[in-house]
Symmetry: C2
Subunit: 335 residues, 2 copies
């Protein structure tokens, strides 16, 4: 049987267990040109919350009754396609289910000798590409400049912060607990990290950024963005990659006063990774090399079992994760 998690009803505020419905369907066999596969890992991402709302966003909203969407790493069970054989590992978008069958559109083969297959959901996947492009192409940090990264222990922030360090910047994280801040400075080796829940944020940021802020890599929006705007330098660049602070708000809150943007001739640029696939070759080349040399670590936060996928997603908004959170559905024979 194929176990699936459906999107049952649009949540108000934070998703709950009632947002999801578990069903079982018979496992299908591939037809000509198709392959069947079992899901090993599925990705949970903050942006999934946006798709639960009605109305236009940068991707179509999910409709109640639909399979929960998401990126996946799978292993081929049976292939009726010449390019794939049983046992192959693949990256795809099979969503929240234990098995899938269908054509090979949008699939990509993974070589476990190159990198752990789960990395295709994180450091070598869309979160990593987001970090790479938003930091380098929009933030354009110069050596010696100060780069601040919010959600610095998260899937995207943890990569962005390390790239800022590699590029010779004074890299300062912002995270939601002392444990995360320890992780950011000790494991990811950023220069400093500020716990936004505890401290006078503006004062703590000033202390961590004695030369002000040249690039603010923002995953969160809200009061953290407001605080950083108070200490940005002239010509600061702010790649706006996420607004996790407001994804569960029924009514959109106001944003920061823009006086600092005007006075400092600063720039805020919204960024969605789908526009930047042309950078994939450069990204894979650079980040693969940084992984091999040990300059980048790829923290993962693996939750076991499809049954726990809903709470794994909900937990993202509570800031539970350190590193890229993924859900393991079945055995990974490469580990």
């Amino acid at each position: 049987m194929n176990k699936q998690v459906l999107f049952k009803s649009r949540p108000e505020g934070l998703p709950t267990e009632a947002t999801f419905e578990f069903i079982e369907t018979p496992e299908a066999r591939p037809r000509d040109g198709e392959i069947s596969r079992r899901t090993i890992y599925l990705s949970v991402d903050p942006a999934m919350r946006g798709r639960m709302n009605r109305g236009k966003s940068y991707v179509a909203p999910m409709e109640p009754g639909q399979l929960m969407v998401g990126s996946t790493v799978s292993q081929v069970i049976e292939s009726k396609h010449p390019d794939y054989k049983a046992g192959d590992f693949i990256f795809g978008s099979d969503g929240w289910q234990t098995h899938a069958v269908g054509d090979t559109k949008g699939l990509r083969k993974l070589d476990p000798k190159q990198a752990p297959i789960s990395y295709s959901l994180g450091v070598l996947g869309l979160p990593g590409l987001t970090a790479y492009v938003a930091l380098l192409d929009i933030g354009k940090p110069k050596p010696g400049e100060t780069v601040v990264i919010s959600a610095a222990a998260g899937a995207v922030g943890s990569i962005a912060g390390q790239i800022a360090r590699i590029k010779g910047c004074h890299a300062v994280g912002i995270a939601g607990s002392d444990e995360k801040c320890d992780f950011v400075t000790r494991e990811l080796r950023l220069d400093a990290c500020v716990n936004y829940r505890k401290q006078d944020l503006v004062a703590a940021l000033k202390a961590a950024c004695p030369n002000g802020v040249d690039v603010y890599f923002d995953n969160v929006g809200g009061p953290v963005l407001e605080a950083v705007l108070k200490i940005i330098n002239r010509s600061a660049r702010i790649p706006l990659v996420g607004l996790i602070s407001q994804y569960n708000e029924a009514k959109l809150p106001p944003g920061p006063n823009l006086g600092s943007i005007l006075v400092n001739r600063a720039m805020i640029q919204g960024m969605i990774v789908f526009d930047h696939f042309h950078r994939m070759p450069d990204f894979l080349r650079d980040v693969s090399q940084w992984l091999r040399s040990g300059e980048i670590k790829a923290p993962e936060d693996i939750i076991e079992g499809l049954d726990n996928a809903p709470s794994a997603l909900i937990g993202l908004f509570r800031g539970e994760n350190v590193g890229k959170r993924i859900v393991q559905i079945s055995e990974d024979p490469t580990r």
Copy 2:
């Protein structure tokens, strides 16, 4: 005697007559290398309000007791400098006074045969350069795109809107009265103009911008920016040139929710004209030519008499002006 207007005390909210003090001082004579001049025109600008506040901005704040600062057009009375002679017209920053004496630093000679001398305070001065650079270098409009301009009847907006029209864009103004909107569409020949005080702004903007908004030239911030953000297109560019809606607020109001910036991969860029003097030659060449060919009109709103300078400035924040507001202090022999 030299009549001067001093900055007397920092206002809370809108400046009042009590913000200013009129004094008379003896008229001085130039020493070697200096010239004396009488002020013909002085510029009043919304940005002057910012200089009345304490604290860091992009220029130093004024201190109580100081002469009110501002750009001026003057005529030389007596010259002890080889490059200037009595009768010459000059652009400078002599502030709010009937006469000035001093060295020639920062002065520029004006040729009344080339253009009305008052234009150096508006269409051929900083407001025009602001419009030119913010629209073309930051907004980067392409022919056929929709450009929306707030404060479209104002000193900067009136020029920006006309340049958008010249560049083949669908140019839509926003202004605060039906009279101004008539002016924007009939005199400045923009495609449409929306009166933000009267209409359901989002609905009116949608009607005026059937293809959405690609460039929003913003002089005002506040609820108008919020409304435009609801109908921006993907990859929209927003040069942020002014925030007149908040210049008189004691406490900075929140800004717009940034969700639309993220989802639409839009860009907000603060712009201060002082960074862009290297564009002056291109600007003067293009705008002078557009003035000669009649493609650009240079509306002016001339208030008579130094005594009326305070109310002329205050009136800017009430939206009294159509075109560049200047104060005429003494006779312009070229008109």
